[in-house]
Symmetry: C2
Subunit: 200 residues, 2 copies
């Protein structure tokens, strides 16, 4: 009879993913060795290779899981009956909130994605594009002039918002004078008021 998959297989896989994400974020993908990761996870290197065929697969899975969680969180951040402005704020708040326990994964997404082969990068970039589309949609809803044919504003304004939000990990400190909710309101306000003024 075939040996069944261990019942804690998925828990172990998640634990490996979290530990390796922290090591990759701290030391960088190239410098965090498979030996260090195995040691940090309390497993043998051979077991590590049982879960992941190679180091790249580990990196890919970290970023894919992270992006899937961001997309899910953002999609739940707004409802169809909201106004465009409420929707955009809901998305920004949900995204900043999702980053709370995913600082390591966020750094890895930003800094280490380019270590992967082109094909795997493409699969991850498709997820990034989905995330961008959600925000661009809310922005178009909130400031319809941005989406008018001939307007070149939607892309730079959307990317400005991503710049703000994806840059926050470099200066934002938990428990500081500005909370995540505060910054969600600030970022939404900068983008919306600015965009309305630009569109006028």
């Amino acid at each position: 009879m075939a040996r069944p998959r261990a019942e804690d297989y998925d828990d172990k896989r998640k634990a490996i993913l979290k530990t390796s994400a922290e090591l990759f974020a701290e030391h960088g993908f190239d410098r965090a060795s498979m030996n260090q990761i195995a040691l940090g996870c309390g497993v043998s290197k051979a077991l590590l290779y049982h879960y992941y065929a190679n180091k790249d697969a580990l990196l890919f899975d970290i970023i894919r899981d992270h992006l899937d969680e961001l997309i899910a969180a953002v999609e739940e951040g707004a409802t169809p009956e909201m106004t465009g402005e409420e929707m955009l704020h809901g998305y920004v708040l949900a995204l900043l909130d999702a980053y709370r326990d995913a600082n390591a994964e966020h750094k890895i997404q930003i800094n280490e994605m380019k270590r992967l082969p082109a094909e795997q990068q493409e699969e991850l970039k498709a997820r990034e594009r989905r995330l961008v589309q959600l925000f661009a949609g809310a922005l178009s809803h909130a400031v319809p002039q941005l989406a008018e044919p001939g307007s070149t504003l939607l892309k730079p304004v959307t990317m400005s918002l991503f710049g703000m939000v994806n840059w926050h990990y470099l200066w934002f400190r938990e428990g500081g004078a500005v909370s995540r909710a505060d910054y969600a309101r600030i970022a939404t306000r900068l983008i919306l008021d600015g965009a309305r003024s630009l569109a006028a």
Copy 2:
């Protein structure tokens, strides 16, 4: 008598710096080998080590030179008789313009600085702080409420601007629908109109 320094010493050093910056940006600091860099520069590895004691020194010099050029460019981007708004726009335009021929150096500053020992990082971060101070100063000048005692807005608004501008290299394309000058106006507008609305 001591051997005099070669008359083209500085030219060679700058050429090494530019070539290695491109290799670091393309492959990452850890993967771009000193052998590759020597080959790319058309010099022997031994000559490379004549100019730079080790790989870290090369990385440090790339980022230091880059930051010094950014600070100089930004400082020349505005004059004291300008209004706060003109000053901020002058700074943003100067910074985006300085990035035009420094894409590799910018990527390295963002992605590879943490590979350096803490002491060297600190020296570079001091330069980053000077740059931030220039923008925070112009912002305070343009929207005085941001600098009022008790206000917590100056930092997040300044960092939002840096997020926008430092994120541009991921989406901006030379010769596209939006020029650097266009984006300087957009970013300045988003920040200024948004900040005024927040301060009110």
